[in-house]
């Protein structure tokens, strides 16, 4: 288990690996990948129980990346955690490859659920959590939703269900980066106060800075301590965070970019990485 400082280092390393993964293909869902790397660092660096050499381990914890287009960030994380070698990241979107644009449990070691049709991860995550409980396993299921994804009605069917069935082994993150494909969520289809919505459905709800690994880590541990209710953690994030050509750009859901742009962004992240390492007491 890593310290909060080490998790921040891991997050920046995931960010660089994600940028390099996207570089192989020259285009991709960069905005929503950048906004969740701190959460992935916390999950795979601190919280989740897994064995990279045995991805199918029954009683592992599971992540459902319901915003399946953020696959590249997950792939970078899984590779860093030993599920597959870094060279495989070059297979992103390669025909016949093992790393499709959206997550596929049958292609990529370590991916726990196939996703990409938005809203559906809510229900499959519930199925996993419910099944683990039926099996008597103490495994937890983590679910990562996009805020635009919460336009989908199926999300709210699941929110109602998880509370009714007291799924306290399900922790749901909402990547509240305020942007969806066509623009700002408030302009496209406003999801309003996400925390109030989950609270109204009877969930234990927390709001954190989604780029602060210490805050995310504390929120997850608090969520797991809740009994008899599912937990939501609203991650206040910035779409494209930490990638200098994507952050703050309105149409950053899916972008194409040059190698030079990626190199520039990576150079920027390296500065942040050095600072994170210094803060964590690691050598630069």
């Amino acid at each position: 288990m890593k310290t909060a400082g080490q998790l921040q280092v891991m997050a920046e390393e995931i960010r660089i690996a994600t940028l390099r993964t996207l570089e192989y293909f020259g285009a991709g869902h960069i905005g929503g990948a950048m906004s969740i790397v701190e959460t992935l660092a916390v999950l795979y660096g601190s919280v989740m129980r897994y064995d990279a050499s045995n991805p199918g381990w029954d009683t592992r914890d599971r992540l459902v990346m319901s915003k399946g287009h953020a696959g590249p960030a997950l792939y970078a994380t899984l590779s860093m955690c030993g599920f597959f070698p870094a060279e495989m990241l070059a297979e992103l979107n390669m025909p016949g490859g093992r790393l499709p644009s959206h997550c596929d449990m049958n292609k990529t070691p370590g991916v726990d659920m196939t996703t990409g049709s938005l809203g559906q991860g809510m229900s499959t995550a519930i199925g996993l959590a419910l099944g683990c409980r039926m099996n008597g396993w103490d495994s937890n299921t983590y679910l990562l939703l996009g805020d635009g994804e919460c336009n989908e009605g199926q999300v709210w069917e699941g929110v109602m269900f998880a509370r009714h069935h007291k799924l306290d082994n399900l922790v749901t993150f909402v990547d509240r980066n305020m942007q969806q494909l066509d623009g700002f969520v408030r302009d496209v289809l406003d999801t309003g106060d996400m925390a109030a919505k989950f609270t109204a459905f009877g969930w234990h709800t927390q709001e954190v800075n989604g780029h602060d690994t210490r805050a995310i880590d504390a929120a997850v541990r608090n969520a797991l301590a809740q009994k008899g209710v599912p937990s939501a953690i609203i991650l206040h994030t910035v779409k494209g965070y930490g990638c200098n050509f994507a952050e703050g750009v309105e149409s950053n859901h899916n972008m194409s970019f040059t190698k030079e742009q990626i190199d520039g962004a990576v150079a920027d992240v390296r500065v942040r990485l050095a600072a994170a390492k210094a803060a964590a007491g690691e050598g630069v």
Partner: protein, 320 residues
Amino acid sequence: MYTTLDVCETSSVMMRQAYCETLCALAREGRDVVALDADLISSSGMRPFFKEFPDRAVQCGVAEANMIGIAAGLSAVGKIPFAHSFGCFASRRVCDQIMISAAYACLNVRIVGSDPGITATYNGGTHMPFEDMGVLRSIPGITLIEPTDPVMTRDVVRKLASAYGVYYIRLARKNVKAVYADGSTFEIGRGALLRPGRDVAVIASGIMVSEALKAADILSAEGVGVRVVDMFTWKPVDGELIAECAAETGAIVTAENHNIYGGLGSAVAEALVKSGPVPVEMVGVRDRFGQVGTEDYLREEYGLTARDIIGAIRRAIARK
């Protein structure tokens, strides 16, 4: 092996009873079956299962899309889920969830869609699936089954507890005509040959099987040899048997309680053009919506009687 009854009379048990009893038996045997329902336990007859096995019964409320995803997730941790709703809502309403969460993800899910076609009677047009099999047939790898009577229902449900994949079971809920003797067993994906005639072959499914048998009996008095096949698996359809029927009889009639577009007639025709076409006549719903009525009224309204099959047989033979 299967044996047909000499006379098709109304079954002594309802289809839903056969379904529920089989799932209960499987659960008692220690099989990891889980039943899911969308606020229709009273309709699906699953109360006994929910009562006896509360820990493997999942009430999802009126939220079918969520139910299918949950079933998919459950199967990913080893459960054997059977998820029920009325056929309309277990197919067209959740098409993408079946496609992506279940089939594309290569998971292990059984979906039971009840009240096929006119058996929805007084629930009317919104609840009367003439399209469920057609909607689902284009999902890669899915298996589509319409059990004919309680005996077949028991056998199919039991077999599906040991199968792997995505299965849709089009299940009448109430009494139907009993066709098979107790203990009959079937092979999913293989049609059941019920009558050996050589002048024409009727390929039927569901409630149309007993009508086809009735038509065959009537025409046999005229010396017309009508072969009858129960094609309870619509996908993968038994192309070998269809080809054999075409080669040996020279004319085919299909009979289904479903829209002829995208249904059994379409599946049989697709198989036939590959093996050597013969005249085909289709008995089924001719691209219409459902409506309220008794089953007898709706049979007449949509042309799903033995008389309609006889008319189609005469036309098919005339075209030989």
